[in-house]
Symmetry: C2
Subunit: 136 residues, 2 copies
């Protein structure tokens, strides 16, 4: 991960466009957001940016390793910066609340799966469903 985001794009033969900049800024600003929310945020600045462009851009940015997504709710995935992906989400299936916990909670699990099965866990994508303290 070296260079600015537009150098990253250029280096791989992609063009730098205002839409791509805006989507990346929106993801950065919003933290966790669905494509729709990102689109809405982008349109605060530039009206007329299309939802399909948002989808295409997110796909590209994910492929380049700049953002990742995870599934916190039922409908849509939520996107966030790959550089901030180093945490796990706990989702309560009763009150729908989302809690973030540090990677140390799953460190043991990650190591076990790596050693025993050679499976490399994508921690940023990990969402744990269950019931939180309040809803017990």
């Amino acid at each position: 991960m070296t260079g600015t985001w537009h150098e990253q794009l250029r280096a791989r033969g992609y063009r730098v466009t205002p839409q791509r900049q805006l989507v990346l800024e929106a993801v950065s600003m919003l933290g966790h957001a669905t494509p729709e929310e990102i689109c809405a945020q982008v349109q605060e600045t530039a009206r007329g940016v299309n939802i399909s462009t948002v989808y295409r851009t997110l796909e590209l940015l994910e492929q380049l390793g700049m953002v990742t997504h995870t599934h916190l709710h039922h409908g849509s995935p939520t996107y966030h910066l790959a550089s901030e992906a180093n945490h796990v989400h706990l989702v309560c299936r009763d009150c729908e609340s989302v809690t973030e916990v540090g990677p140390e909670v799953v460190a043991g699990l990650v190591e076990t799966l790596d050693k025993e099965l050679g499976f490399a866990v994508d921690v940023g994508h990990l969402t744990i469903f269950g019931r939180c303290k309040k809803c017990t």
Copy 2:
């Protein structure tokens, strides 16, 4: 969990119908299946069973605690019997393969989250994304 499945239904005031029986059998037979796959399986026996009935039935059975679902692929959720839910899924994001591992792998994690945060993990719903040994 006592009594047969139709006693369970009756006891809660729901009717026992062939469609509900067929859906439950299909889930049992298929192991992990999407609503579409379940519908296809059901229609092997009874033509004309509608996909919306499958959705409604799965929702009911899940509410009654007979089946659960998890998200293994991008599109649709996959359903399986609640009584067989006691395992974790590893999904490789490259080759899309799904591996099941026993609950002991996450036992430590489950205990940690319970003790430190009072969060009760729904193990049957847990899907871990990453990269498998082959795709490293």
